[in-house]
Symmetry: C2
Subunit: 289 residues, 2 copies
């Protein structure tokens, strides 16, 4: 049994995409466990936020101590709002990556699939179940909303609605599971990042984001070359629009190396000589939940 | 006045994301005009499809002669379903890029913003108006559906609904415009691709997609280097998950060069020696609509 915190003890808050029942909440619970394991005398509390951007802003403005957000899914790719918001906000550092297997269920109060007219879920979850939806619910309207947790809350015992969410969400909201698993690819997992305003510590991985001054052809090739020459493996390269004009991008890279290694430090310093803005998003290890 | 086709004349069909009123329809109309300019004796007809994937599949299976789909927006980035579907389908070649400025309007039968409870639109349009929505409709539910045209059809004169779509869609469906423009960035444009089963002809730009065998660090740096060495400018590098496992990607690149140039041909041949799959998506010019 967990001891209740004494009244003068600080409670650390972990913001996450809510409401209760989202996959991000599971990642936040996993992260809280690792924090408790290291700091058994500290107390951590989860706080759901309605969007990913609000979750990250809560940490950036000091409203929350930590924030957990999805960053990438193995089937649907980047969660672009996470990348864009991290680029815009200052002072946030990735502390930990958490990878969770994702298995979706169809939740509904309907007795048969035929009655279902509308399916609600997060856009990533809907995209991960595209083939299943086209096969079994070809005539249902597919409606994207801000989280899988909110999708379950929409059911309200109406038989013509269904939600795509986790089996855990089904239990939490006492909603019937009609089909499971319904994701199109069995090997479906999502990587989450836990961020805070603290400087990151030593980790096996690091992430950077950078932009180049306009009209510098070959800059990305040059940037990647800096790491290749030093045998620093890049596990991911992602581009996002700078929102200045079509064809103008910024880049996110993940490296499989400790950012404090001398070779990595030298690579970063060389990169800085020709980037416009360079942000070190953090150094972290990967936890498989 | 256009002559009506005689009964034995073939009518070429152009599939596009529908229904009527979408931005993609405008791109398809623009593309049809360029086809008519070159082939004044041929007849072209637009055919709306409910999704991007269905539009591309209609061309791949011969149901339609051409297909027009959005590929990238200057604010929100890639339309990932377009990239993923082009990777999966064979025989499709990009014939033309069309770039359109995008200015969104809020359409509603409500007399005041306060009454609006739900805003419908395509996920890209919703993302492009995020700040406006947070500012003026902070309490409205934001619901993503398959197209801006469908969003307008949902209004059905109900005052608590609103749609984000073009002013053209407002006219087509005779729906009132409550606010315009509402996109967060004035410089908002979308690039569309027109595809067919015909081989592409000479163009100023070309697009390739490729994957690497698993566990070959540095492959992307090497690929980009091949083009950089030959002074072939890459205007875009995009990664997408292969859907095999987390951390396994395929890449889409756009080059600012004629694919039939000798230096480009040599670069492609060198690239082929270490890619797993390499697809030439097409060679095309860019039309600013």
């Amino acid at each position: 049994m967990a001891a209740s915190p004494s009244f003068h003890m600080k409670i650390y808050s972990i913001a996450h995409l809510g409401p209760s029942g989202t996959y991000t909440e599971v990642a936040a619970l996993t992260y809280a466990d690792t924090l408790r394991a290291v700091n058994p005398d500290k107390h951590y509390e989860l706080h759901p936020y309605p969007t990913i951007a609000q979750t990250l802003r809560a940490v950036a403005n000091g409203q929350a101590d930590f924030g957990v957000v999805p960053v990438e899914n193995s089937i649907e790719g980047s969660v672009t709002v996470t990348l864009d918001t991290l680029w815009q906000l200052d002072h946030l550092q990735v502390q930990q990556a958490v990878v969770l297997p994702i298995a979706h269920a169809l939740l509904s109060y309907s007795s048969t699939l035929d009655l279902i007219q509308t399916v609600y879920s997060h856009p990533q979850a809907l995209a991960q179940c595209q083939i299943w939806l086209e096969t079994y619910l070809p005539n249902a309207q597919v409606v994207a909303i801000s989280s899988t947790g909110e999708a379950v809350q929409r059911l309200k015992e109406t038989p013509d609605f269904a939600a795509i969410a986790s089996q855990r969400a089904a239990k939490l909201y006492d909603a019937p599971v009609m089909a499971y698993p319904i994701n199109d690819y069995a090997d479906n997992c999502t990587r989450f990042w836990a961020v805070s305003q603290e400087p990151s510590s030593v980790g096996s991985h690091a992430s950077l984001a950078f932009s180049f001054p306009a009209n510098r052809p070959g800059s990305l090739a040059k940037a990647l070359q800096i790491f290749a020459e030093r045998n620093i493996n890049l596990s991911r390269v992602e581009s996002r629009p700078t929102k200045r004009s079509l064809g103008d991008y910024l880049f996110f890279i993940d490296i499989e190396a400790n950012i404090f290694d001398e070779s990595v430090q030298l690579a970063v310093r060389e990169l800085e000589t020709f980037t416009e803005t360079l942000k070190i998003l953090g150094s972290y290890s990967i936890l498989n939940g």
